[in-house]
Amino acid sequence: MTVALQPGEAIQGAPEEETSRGASWPRYLALKGGGAAVSLVMVVVVGFFAFRVLPGDPAISMTRGRQVSADQVEILRKQFGLDQPLIVQFWNYLVGLLHGDLGTSYTYNRPVVDLIGTYIGPTLLLTGTAALVSIVLGLSLGQRAAWRRGTAFDRTQTSVALIFWSVPTFWLGLLLLLVFGGWLHWFPTGGMSTPGLGATGLAYVWDVVRHLVLPVTAMVAVVYAQYLLVMRASLLEEMSADYLTTARAKGLREDDVRRKHAVPNALLPTITLIFLTIGGLIGGAVTVETVFSWPGLGYLTFQALTSPDLPLLQGTFVVFSSIVIITNLAADLVYRVIDPRLKAS
């Protein structure tokens, strides 16, 4: 979580880059893809064994307080393969996973995969929007702040960002909800759309956007500071580089120097960081979705926590982690394509 506030580190780049940056495309792909694959396997393994240490008998939990005979419990155990040795259960779990089977939720009594399919859309919409807004906001403000280092603008922006960064997301969300939802009535207090509005097309989009404002604001406020600070730091680094002096000496306009030379170079470490913080964004989704009753995976995770509904919790854990790992892999590939230092070589 703190990653972002360490500009020095971000500039140094990810550790593997030392070995893989110069590698050929196939080798690079194999390295990165292999790494991601290993991570995915680790998620799957952790996802299985973490939940097996829990107290309580899953078969009894599944009966949800109904009166059942010992025979019925035995049947349930067989049905869910709980009578098998742990290693066999793990094998079954792996085979199931390959067939897209994450087990059956106790609470909803239906396949976890179904549930995740239903709830994943809103989460992607919410975290995607929040990520986009905070990146744009963080990068532009960070760039401005760096270019005008030491001014009141710089100081205000840095201060404000750091203050927001220190706020617990759920608390900020709740305050936003109380002030802008309950008191001022500017925005809806929860959900993704107004039930029964029956709106379609643009009207529906408008309705969803209205519902998006508060949760996105809560997420952005807490996250954008990291981007601002890193962008600011890496731009400062670039600005002291020799080639900028050369560029200026050539008589290029200050604005062009910044836009065409300094900023693109400073962007790279920032992009690395952005992908590293996706995990944090998703963590934020759990609390924000709970506060704003957003019908997404975070809300589902919270729901699963209360019983706890282990198969569901396990499923959301695996899916959340996989999203992050896959996005990071994509980032690595994109990064290589756009890295000008690589292009030049």
Binding site: L5, E9, G35, R232, G279
Partner: protein, 310 residues
Amino acid sequence: MTEAVTTEAVTASAARGARSVASARRKQRAGEVWREFARHRSGVVGLVLLLAVIALALLAPVIAPEQLLDVTKVTAGPNEPPSWANPLGTDPAGRSVLVMLLWGSRVSLLVGFAATAVSMIIGTIVGMSAGHFGGVAQAVLLRIMDFFLVLPSLVLAIVLSTVLSRGVVTIIIAIGVTSWAGTARLVRSQTLTIEARPYIERAWALGAGNGHVLRKHVLPAVLPLVLANTTLTVGSAVISESTLAFLGLGDPTTVSWGTMLKTALDTGAATAGYWWYVLPPGIAIVLVVLCFTLVGRALEAVVNPTLRGR
């Protein structure tokens, strides 16, 4: 608690503590560090505030006897607005919110420091090993680091707190185990840099073993950076504690800022307009986290000279 605080105090002043007595040279270096740190006004402000908060937390039993938290002994009514007797009003059981805030700081800071210590130890060991050793060991460690680096740490912390029994220790472990990867990465790159220096090669040539090099040369060199870095981690840990409490994974039988907020929400204080119970714990968290961040940033600028002047 005491132990953690001591470590931190040493960290915070970056060498004013016991170690500075060791030699005059160190004393001089410490003086330089302090002067450099003192140039960062925001860092100094953060440090002063932080020390004040820590002092208050340590003195809580003296300032407000624990008996004031006993719900069967209260005299004030529930949810009373601020008054002279109770400057921050009372909670639903009639206890002074100010007293609870004071006592809550102990658990919140304890969780912050202890979780950071866990994260720092794991991060330093893994990071140094990954930088020092090569081959399979390095590959495996790097993979594990990468795994924890990208993993949604809150989600993993949720899983851990669900799996383990409720309690402060569980929360410390859950936060510590999920937050070390950043430190490890930093330590690794620092280890690589240091081991490339000539004096390490000299040490090798003189027949030093792995343990000797790591302990005598690498560790002292990475430690300042680790300390600066972990100062930032304390803040996140304090936030994580409150988040876990909000999700119902805290220990409701102890008073912390997180559980105070949770109780406030659970008793409807927010909608009932009892702002004196909803705002102070949140503001306290923001303040303390901000202080840690400011101190951490200033420290980092001190230890990492490339950052100077920013």
